[in-house]
Amino acid sequence: MDNLDLKKIANELRKNVITATFYAKSGHPGGSLSAADILTYLYFEEMNVDSQRAGDENRDRFVLSKGHAAPALYSVLALKGYIPVDDLKTLRHIDSYLQGHPDMKHTPGVDMSSGSLGQGISAAVGMALSAKVQHKDFRVYAMLGDGELQEGQVWEAAMFAGSHALDNLTVIIDNNNLQIDGSVAEICSPYPIDKKLEAFNFHVININAHDFNEIRAAFKEARTIKQYPTAIVAKSVKGKGVSFMENIVGWHGKAPNEDEYKQAMTELEKNGEALV
């Protein structure tokens, strides 16, 4: 798939995020939009997954450790055929299977329930270890937020992955530098993220989270690395793709109102047309 096709899908994904959070009247658009391009690449290029074989035990696994970006995960799962796109409008509703944070028991295609920060990466490490123990060649991907790096469990998991040479594990840090209370750097700095992960025996690649050439190169490189897990530190923009949401901390956990919804959708429609 070429970059243009990926951009089109990512744009659709972003529209779905806006629609889902608008209908939910709550949720997390900012961190969903920053993750959109990488999720698109993972599901449409990188991972060996198929909605027709959702339970295949040899499939690649994805864990959204930053579970609040559930609207982005549900959107990519919808575009990939796991769930109907229309169902995204039921996000967070009382009778919906689309919970506020990913729930593996209720949503097809979700490999791990997540949302309590720091916990998803441990589960991904467990999956990667299990692949090694069972001599299976599936790969495991986990996406974390940069604020999430403040959880001590992340480093417990990193220590284990590094010391057990889990080269079938790729961790992506969605580095948009904003968390609920402000900038990640100011609240409790995780920087330098790359140096820290290197010290934990990770092979680290720094990229721009919105450049498909860099995304592609990073995931291809990760596949070639032996004996080390890979971490892709992806510099991203919170709210990416919707002008008035970009880099605004307030859009971490707030849904657009009707006017904002229309404005965001108009922008994304225009962007989509430009991609044709």
Partner: protein, 313 residues
Amino acid sequence: MTVTKIATRESYGNALVELYKEHDNIIVLDADLAAATKTVIFKKAFPERHYDCGIAECNMMGIAAGIATTGLVPFVSSFAMFAAGRAFEQVRNSIGYPHLNVKIGATHAGISVGEDGATHQCNEDIALMRTIPGMVIINPADDIEARAAVKAAYNYNGPVYMRFGRLAIPVINNKADYKFELGKGVILREGHDATIIATGLCVGAALAAAEKMAKKNIAVGVINIHTIKPIDRKLIIEAAKKTGKIITIEEHSIIGGLGGAVTEVLTESYPVPVLRLGINDCFGHSGPAIALLHEFGLDAAGIEKKVSEYLKK
């Protein structure tokens, strides 16, 4: 007559070895306590299936959850204080919420940890684990029951919390006719004056106390509740109907453990007076296990004294 004594943590280690010989889809995790939790027995037999996660219990629970999603059955092991206490939220959210097939072997539960003192004496784990929906809790009374519990836990599809002790305790169940049924209490002794409902290492002490009381013409029945969740409601209600008075005994806080569970059942279905014996809303302290059990009134002598006084009222 020599009484065989064995700590249930030892039974856990032995049972894992037996289990793997029959079921090669298990994997054992520990957090730098393999020598103490006795998973070292398994490690020596099958090192390729034993992983030490280091001193990082929260991560270990998450790793177990991830493993469980891929079809292997992890047995995670640590002291009860850290498995149920420190890693509570990981057990709840990563294991309990997705109802994953993870078995938690929690050793060194209760005050009988002894000299390590209050920070290591977990008297709250049953209460904590009971609040997690779908969590099965087993608190075996001796070696035979502990080994049966490990097999039963394996055969159940979902999260199981198994509580083991550090102290070597007598074997009370007869090998020949012992059958372990998940969720079923066991009547060990009939009696019409009152019924003691005990769990874990207190079962043996309760039996000994009941025997002593029988010599003084006090007929106290003894029921062993090895599965605290789901609890055997029917048997508890029958005992209340039969004897009118219930005494619960556990090496755990009287709040939220066996005593809590039994009183919940009875107040809903057949209210009778219940005396809860256990750790009475306080912390423990350092000391030899036997001396601590005596101090807290959880040995046979203490149980006999408290139950006799209660029945005189």
